[in-house]
């Protein structure tokens, strides 16, 4: 069993922060790799981040509407 972090990815060299729009999954949900898990917004676009691994969401660390830096861990998936 491993813990995989869901992070704000690098979204281009001018984007340093993003806002959490909404969580599409809840703690405890089973998810498959590639499933959309959270919607985030940058000044230019809204994107849905996909689960980097299959497993169970054990922790959600950032609330909707929070603005966080690129690289911030948003959630933990236990595989």
């Amino acid at each position: 069993m491993a813990r995989v972090a869901v992070k704000i990815p690098d979204l281009g060299n001018e984007v340093t922060e993003a806002q959490i729009d909404s969580w599409l999954k809840s703690p405890g949900d089973m998810i498959s790799q590639g499933e959309e898990i959270v919607a985030i917004t940058t000044p230019k676009v809204t994107v849905e981040l996909e689960a980097p691994a299959s497993g169970r969401i054990v922790d959600i660390l950032v609330e909707p509407d929070e603005i966080v830096a690129v690289g911030t861990i948003l959630a933990i998936i236990e595989t």
Binding site: E14, T16, E17, A18, Q19, D21, S22, T41, T42, P43, K44, V45, T46, D65, I67
Partner: protein, 809 residues
């Protein structure tokens, strides 16, 4: 890119074959007796009479042009005369099948189409309406000229003379011509009869008529637009763009109101594109109608019809009109006919034989029609001769009147400047459009609502674009206000809907607006701009987006010849409230990073703005959308995320800033630095550095380029005595050059040193890593200001600049 349309390789990769529909060629075979029965004897005699009028009118013009005489009239007409003698049946036949509320958009060779449409409208409109039209047009001046000089028996008779004199006066470019003498032979139009602008640019009417049809569809009018084109126009890219735009699948698949645009592409095919032979030489098609099959599965209902027979043409146009009314547009007609006259009066028929011309004279449309009527016992030869003689007499009267400056006064050239811009606003008074959902529920709006409207922290630090209003948000709020409060405003461009435009300005609007108010256009910059011109002519207020300013080249004619010129060429009868937004890029090299404000500024007829702050962007864009003149909005991609560093905050409600008024962004004493667009920011950095050296610069943000009030700049120069313009455009021929030249002229005696310009080199824009060496940086501004300060007493010869100029750099 709507996610509702799934591209399934399992389906797209299946073996299949394509079947194209039957394209009828010369299938008209209605017996003349049936036509007499359905149209009535009188209507068909009128058809002949209208063709005779067209020919008589153009024959008069041909005589004037080639000999300087027409009957007893001696007059030198210097303008163009692209005649359509021989093609009368195409024009008159089409007009028979159209209503006055259907709009035709013609070509450079559209005298016949214009007259035919007008004559038909006069034949079917109420006399009271005709009287009112003549009364209202130009305060009755043209009507008075008609009454004074021409015998009229009744209202329709007077209206026909009004049509002929208004048109000929326009061709002679007289002040009481239909367009006040601003249009002339190739641009004449008269809206009340449904004769919309003709166009001197081959094929340009295709996109404009398509835009007119777009507006008709959006308003759900029961009318059609007709693009009157020549066969040569099938060689023009923008015509193909327009036909594709009109036939876009989204109209059937995604729009609430289904169906392609109600536009008929009517190709008057006379087999020659000036001297190039279309079928057989310059085009790939052998029958023009086959191009319909290249556009759509239904081949746009294309047909080839006999353009020497007005009844065959009327039959085809009526059938196509029914299809358009049934929301099955667009449609395409190849109307084969022949012009006996040359392309223009300098044409000596080097490209065709006398024998060929003689063959076509055997199927002359007027003689054939007259023979049909005579055979059917409707019109005797004597009656036809008498009719012709009456027309000749009338035409001499019209020509004498038009040539007489007492009847048709010449234009005062000094008045032309007043026609370039209306400077009017036409507030919306209709019912408010209903958004698809409550704006407050749209995520983009909720996010923006949480942002601070200030751009700095309490300690003065700039805030992040996630936390404070950005220039992008300012543009968004302005657009949002107008789309929610004005049904006439529609938005389109490449990936404008789901993506929100390539730079996300419209992100979130697809939650609020149906497809007929926000849609993705094809990669067809020419069609995007041309359709906006057409939609605006029909009363719409399109906001269009070109992804990069570099793509202006793809819409050169549409921006520079159509958007810029129609207000003046129409003598103010048309207004073009089009906002064209375009971004100025960087990082992507030579074809994606150019500031072309200089091009836009050079062409008379366009207002040009280039805001650099969120506050200015919101207020100036709102002014642009509200104003009735066409406005080009340049937006720097580097500034979309800029927060407000100057105004206290960006107001939440809508507000307008005056277009044409530069703004002092930082006060100073020693040098006036006028910045264009993003150059504001390096100038600010430079100001900091210079202040440490004891030099204080006054920074003025141009904000607009056309119009431009020099007052605050001149006041500043009177104080500083030194003037520098900074631009990211390459210097030669730039907007900055014009500003520099005018300041040198207006403030010469106040200048302590020569006015300077700091722009980019006259090179291609290099790649991202080399941009700092290309675009003026703060250090460059510091250096130039220091030079100007050191050079207070005189001026040395700039040998490097001389060398560069000699090299073309």
């Amino acid at each position: 890119m709507p996610k509702s349309i799934n591209v399934d390789p399992g389906r797209t990769r299946l073996p299949d074959h394509l079947e194209l529909p039957d394209i009828p060629v010369h299938r008209y075979d209605t017996p003349f007796a049936e036509e007499l029965e359905s149209h009535g004897r009188r209507s068909l005699v009128e058809l002949l009479r209208h063709m005779m009028i067209l020919r008589s009118f153009e024959s008069g013009l041909a005589a004037l042009k080639s000999t300087g005489k027409f009957g007893h009239l001696e007059y030198i007409y210097k303008g163009p005369a692209h005649l359509s003698i021989g093609q009368e049946a195409a024009a008159v036949g089409a007009a028979l099948a159209l209503t006055p509320n259907d709009h035709i958009f013609g070509s450079h060779r559209s005298h016949g189409e214009f007259l035919a449409k007008g004559l038909r409208a006069i034949a079917v409109m109420d006399e009271a309406d005709l009287t009112a039209i003549m009364e209202e047009h130009d305060d009755g001046k043209l009507r008075d000229a008609v009454t004074a000089r021409l015998d009229c028996r009744g209202v329709r008779d007077k209206a026909e003379r009004f049509l002929l004199l208004g048109f000929l006066a326009e061709i002679f470019m007289r002040s009481n011509g239909f367009n006040g003498g601003m249009g002339g032979s190739m641009h004449a139009f008269f809206l009340p009869f449904g004769a919309y602008p003709n166009n001197a640019i081959v094929g340009a009417s295709a996109g404009i008529a398509t835009g007119a049809a777009l507006q008709m569809k959006v308003e759900r009018r029961k009318t059609i637009a007709v693009a009157m084109l020549g066969d040569g126009a099938t060689g023009c890219g923008p015509v193909w763009e327009a036909m594709n735009f009109a036939a876009m699948a989204q109209f059937d698949q995604l729009w609430d109101e289904k169906g392609g645009l109600p536009v008929l592409f009517f190709f008057t095919n006379n087999f020659y594109a000036m001297g190039g032979q279309t079928s057989g030489e310059t085009m790939a098609w052998d029958r023009l109608s086959q191009i319909g099959a290249g556009l759509r599965r239904d081949a746009c209902h294309a047909e080839t019809v006999d353009g020497t027979n007005p009844l065959a043409v009327a039959d085809a146009v009526a059938r196509k009109r029914s299809l358009l009314m049934a929301q099955r547009g667009p449609a395409l007609l190849d109307v084969e006919c022949y012009r006996y006259s040359g392309h223009s009066t300098t044409d000596v028929n080097a490209y065709r034989t006398k024998e060929e011309i003689a063959l076509w004279r055997l199927v002359d449309p007027i003689q054939q029609m007259q023979a049909r009527l005579t055979r059917a016992g409707v019109l005797s030869t004597e009656q036809a001769t008498e009719m012709q003689a009456g027309i000749e007499k009338l035409m001499h009267g019209v020509f004498h009147a038009a040539a007489d400056p007492d009847v048709c006064p010449r234009v005062d050239p000094a008045s032309i400047g007043q026609k370039m811009f209306s400077d009017l606003k036409s507030p919306y008074t209709g019912t408010l459009p209903r958004p698809l959902r409550e704006p407050e529920s749209v995520p983009r709006l909720r996010q923006t609502a949480k942002k601070t409207r200030r751009g700095r922290t309490a300690s003065g630090e700039p805030l992040s674009p996630m936390r404070a209003m950005t220039l992008r948000d300012g543009l968004f709020e302005s657009v949002l206000h107008h789309v929610l409060n004005d049904r006439r405003v529609i938005l389109y461009g490449e990936e404008c809907r789901e993506w929100g435009g390539a730079f996300g300005v419209y992100r979130g609007l697809s939650d609020l607006l149906p497809h007929d108010r926000l849609f993705n256009a094809p990669i067809s910059e020419a069609a995007i701009v041309a359709t906006a011109v057409g939609a605006a002519i029909e009363g719409g207020r399109p906001i269009i987006e070109l992804m990069y300013a570099d793509f202006i080249g793809r819409a050169g004619d549409e921006i520079f010849n159509q958007l810029a010129k129609w207000q003046a060429m129409s003598n103010g009868h048309l207004s073009l409230p089009v906002v064209l937004r375009t971004s100025v890029g960087s990082k992507y090299g030579a074809q994606h990073s150019q500031d072309w404000t200089g091009l836009a500024m050079h062409i008379p007829g366009l207002k040009v703005i280039y805001p650099a702050t969120p506050y200015d962007a919101k207020g100036l864009l709102s002014a642009a959308i509200a104003c009735d003149d066409p406005v080009l909005v340049f937006e720097s991609q580097r500034l979309y995320d800029k927060t407000e560093l100057f105004a206290d905050s960006v107001p939440e409600g809508d507000y307008q800033l005056p277009i044409g008024v530069p703004d002092i962004k930082r006060a100073g004493e020693d040098v006036t630095v006028l910045t264009i667009g993003p150059s504001l920011y390096p100038a600010l950095d430079a100001a900091e550095t210079l202040s440490q050296q004891g030099i204080s610069i006054e920074i003025i943000d141009a904000r607009s380029l056309v119009p431009f009030a020099y007052d605050s700049v001149l006041e500043s120069v009177a104080k500083t005595g030194r003037f520098l313009v900074v631009t990211e455009a390459c210097e030669r021929g730039s907007a900055a050059m014009t500003l520099t030249s005018n300041v040198a002229h207006l403030a010469f005696t106040q200048l302590k040193s020569p006015p300077r310009l700091l722009g980019s080199p006259n090179w291609i824009v290099p790649g991202a890593d080399m941009e700092e060496a290309y675009f003026p940086q703060a250090a460059d501004i510091v250096r130039m200001v220091s030079e100007m300060m050191a050079n207070a007493g005189g001026h040395r010869r700039d040998s490097e600049r001389l060398r560069l100029a000699r090299c073309g750099l």
